[in-house]
Symmetry: C2
Amino acid sequence: MDKATITFEPEGKSINVDVGTSVLDAAIEAGIPINSICGGEGTCGKCKILIKSDPKNFKFNDRGVLAQEEKDNGYYLACQTLVKGNLVVEVPEIARALDMDLQILEKTECVELEHFEPWCKSIELNLAPPTIDNNLSDWQRLYFALKKSETDTKITIPLELLRKLPQIIRDTDWKPVVTLINLGDRKEIIKIDKKSNENNYYGLAIDIGTTTIVVELVDLLDGRVIDTASEYNKQILRGEDILSRVIYCEENKKGLDKMNRLVIETINYLIDQLVRENKINRNEIIQTVVAGNTTMIHLLYKITPWYLRREPYIPATTYISPMKAKTLGIRCNPQGYIYTIPGRTSYVGSDITADIIATGLNKSNELSLLIDVGTNGEIVLGNKEFLVSCSCSAGPAFEGGEVEYGMNAASGAIEAVKLNKELDVTYSTINNTKPKGICGSGLIDLLAEMFNYGVINKAGRIQDLETSRIRVNDETKEFLVVESKATVMGKDITIGEVDIQNVLRTKAALYASCRLLMNILGYTFDDIVNIYIAGGFGNYINAEKAILLGLLPDVELNKFKFIGNGAVAGARHILLSQEKLEEAKTIVQSMTYIDLSTNNMFFNEFTAALFLPHTNIDLFPSVKDLKLQTEGF
Amino acid sequence: MDKATITFEPEGKSINVDVGTSVLDAAIEAGIPINSICGGEGTCGKCKILIKSDPKNFKFNDRGVLAQEEKDNGYYLACQTLVKGNLVVEVPEIARALDMDLQILEKTECVELEHFEPWCKSIELNLAPPTIDNNLSDWQRLYFALKKSETDTKITIPLELLRKLPQIIRDTDWKPVVTLINLGDRKEIIKIDKKSNENNYYGLAIDIGTTTIVVELVDLLDGRVIDTASEYNKQILRGEDILSRVIYCEENKKGLDKMNRLVIETINYLIDQLVRENKINRNEIIQTVVAGNTTMIHLLYKITPWYLRREPYIPATTYISPMKAKTLGIRCNPQGYIYTIPGRTSYVGSDITADIIATGLNKSNELSLLIDVGTNGEIVLGNKEFLVSCSCSAGPAFEGGEVEYGMNAASGAIEAVKLNKELDVTYSTINNTKPKGICGSGLIDLLAEMFNYGVINKAGRIQDLETSRIRVNDETKEFLVVESKATVMGKDITIGEVDIQNVLRTKAALYASCRLLMNILGYTFDDIVNIYIAGGFGNYINAEKAILLGLLPDVELNKFKFIGNGAVAGARHILLSQEKLEEAKTIVQSMTYIDLSTNNMFFNEFTAALFLPHTNIDLFPSVKDLKLQTEGF
């Protein structure tokens, strides 16, 4: 097949690809961070590029998603541009995805781990050197010495260590330090070292989010979190939402392989960063615990995912046996194991199990509600007596999807907004950089303030007020948030009625699901002692304003506990305590799953929740009592 | 590094190698079957080649092993010829190693397997298709269905099958045929198929000998041996005896990797042949059981072997856990397991355990002696009450080593010899081809006949008889066996006094070891009910003549039971019965090993056995009574 060279500016990075490849695929292959929500379908319009040369050498399939003005300015879509010959392509700032600088919530309201009981332990041995009369094999010699302390369990050695055992054991002068990992039904040797003061053991707690992957580096000797690293899940390049990724896997040759490689690459990139910045030896990372939604776990293990997203939505499995992390290509100690927290169903995955572990709600007498907000919302109600879960397709509005200037909670995102009576907008952005868009917490603030000052009514419609901020664009009303001169792109950041309706649908789905679950079980929000809010969304959210929108129930503010990334916290708990893995299995076995999508009541609840804060204002007494800044309410 | 092309004649096969490589290494790399006993040390003189062109392009390091006549005829040694540029090299017939055409003993005196209980079983399932209400994951659905019959055990699925499970299980229309292998502490799924009449399951029983590898293809459904294939262990190319192979591993960069690759290549070559000739699907081979001496097992698993051959001769291990055969690169069903029969020590390996299984002597009331003759001899004495083993360094005389015209029991080997009073020699060769040399059984016949007709005396010295067959060559007496015109090489096949002394040392070591072992335990040969003779050596041996030489003890001939390759028979028993693996473990745990090398009596016994048949003729009453064909006795 004919080849062509594509050079990406401003990096100046070149790659050799087959003629007929899309520029998007070439960019992904070359590691250029490029935005793509639809996964190359040509429908999201995010992967904008400029062709510097040579105009003869590409074919553009114009699907009409680009505005005429963008076309006039020379923009093409990378996914719809097929390579015919050598090209020089510029990927402009606006199309760049992976310059994430995620903020990690420092203080969360997760429970503290009560019992630190690591999976690994090191044993110093002093062996008798062999003689003609004491001629046990090296492995028997080691085995019998280990059995002195490990009386109750089988001990195994992996082939890779057995291969070098004769040399290793003699190099230690018959005084090896042996590190064992407890695999439940047996203990396995994962390291044999000389005695030294520097035998360090680290573990990784990983949350694989659809959007973001977070890796914590944990010291297994004292349980301390040494560092945290996070990055966009590189799979975003093949589709921002789960469904488009599953479709990509199904419809593309080696699609699942590619998707799998992207998540492994992201994890390895984060491990590299942690190893480098904390100056540790990769070989000392001997244990990994991973949480993630069920689809992400399928993609991590390269398990056929298509039936997950087809009725009746059956996962291949929600439980995966521990295995060597290197089986997946994860770069740590080659004998180290990866444990996957079990999940409940296709829609309530291991990240939710981890959230529950992190909150300890399954061990508490108090009744708690857990809400994990992502593209899908998952809700758990329970205490130490029972656990019930459900999920809802909340939509990606709070993660930057379905909102024209929506974006993830990364650098340049407007994260907090205030209005005043004159409808002046003051805002702050993540990292205080020029604004690029609005993230979830910013949207909640913005809509609550717009509602408070009468810019929108209960139905989310923009009112005809006397202000230049309200205008009509393409027959739709919109509100100007930031003027073009102050933004990264040199374009106004606005919010239109379509955006607002999408946010309302998301908040309505979440609230309706919570309420329906409570109704089914005969509880009201007043019965709840703790409401745990998890997910990246939960890091920055202003509860008061979320109540004003009718997103969160109207209860005392001190009931809300923001646990941030509960999934990674739960993974860390398991990393530091075997008992917690058993607890996770018990959670999954005992938790009831209720499918709201088949419940006739859901549509009524959802419709009623589409208003601000709700059709039934009695559900939001604090909002009812609130003197809004406008008489319009 | 500069490269050069070496072309091997008569194959016409070319290979590109680094300048500085030896022609032997190039030949091995190119897969040219070339003889080498010393493993490239330049001392055995076997790897003779002719350089056709270009004389400028090589450097020969003459160690003086070649006779002047050979040098005059243009011979070089491949291992001492370093490549400087392109060469055309002829590998003559005499230097070709791998044209083996081993005879497999059709009828052996192994015990029949009493209880056929295969490790694998197939279960037909009829699963309920999932619905919204019955939404177990695919794996749970399968698991619970399997647990209906497999109540007592954990069941696992390997990642590779889990990955495709959603598709496979739907392709079977929820009616899968699942094949489970019993791993002792759990059962693992190794195949999931559609129901059909053609679900076949095969296993391999493998004996890895230092010289020969034998693979049996066994039908796991009815226990039938479908076919057997055997070939020289390709490691011979890196040294004929064990010690030179271990030295090769230690002294060469990646030596162990290369040695490991050679044994795996041989096994795969044999599997390919079995698959092709029996028209079976490689994927249906789901279980492998392997036996071999302890060094061979180390090399199979690529385990550091050097300490095996250094005092105090400690193996890395004599027990290896079952693992996927593909871990070793063996080409069968990728989920299939390989089991290794446990061994006792460095010198009594798993091949001896397999011999014991094959004879059933460990289950019998009768006292039996087992003698496995190879380069090392291993001896076991025992019954169902006790087992005692020892080993002796017999030397390779019966396998073609240390005897100028000695060779393995392959095509062209003289396997039987008769003399008459005129000292005419009649002989037969394996496959009735022109003679190339003399194998073990031929040597026994030849020496026994020479003794019988007074050509040699009790000390093995050639007598001064009136015959042109007896002559002096290089100050040593020799006996002409076959004249040059009748041989493959066009050279006389002779046996000299040095050769005879080497054979005497081998037979003396074996007999002395047997006798010493009996003495230590207070038994005489008359107490023994069965004498099992195992090893390639045992296939063709004439017991009467072996007694005449004092190689085998002088007991009734019906006590001798020739079991041929007992190792592969034992491996087959284990392949067809889990119980037999447990038996193997018990054998290893309960068998005493006696180190004769440190016993003061050994030297006396050995010296006394250096005569024909023995210094103490009372030990060989049948020989004493025999009227030999010469008055000289």
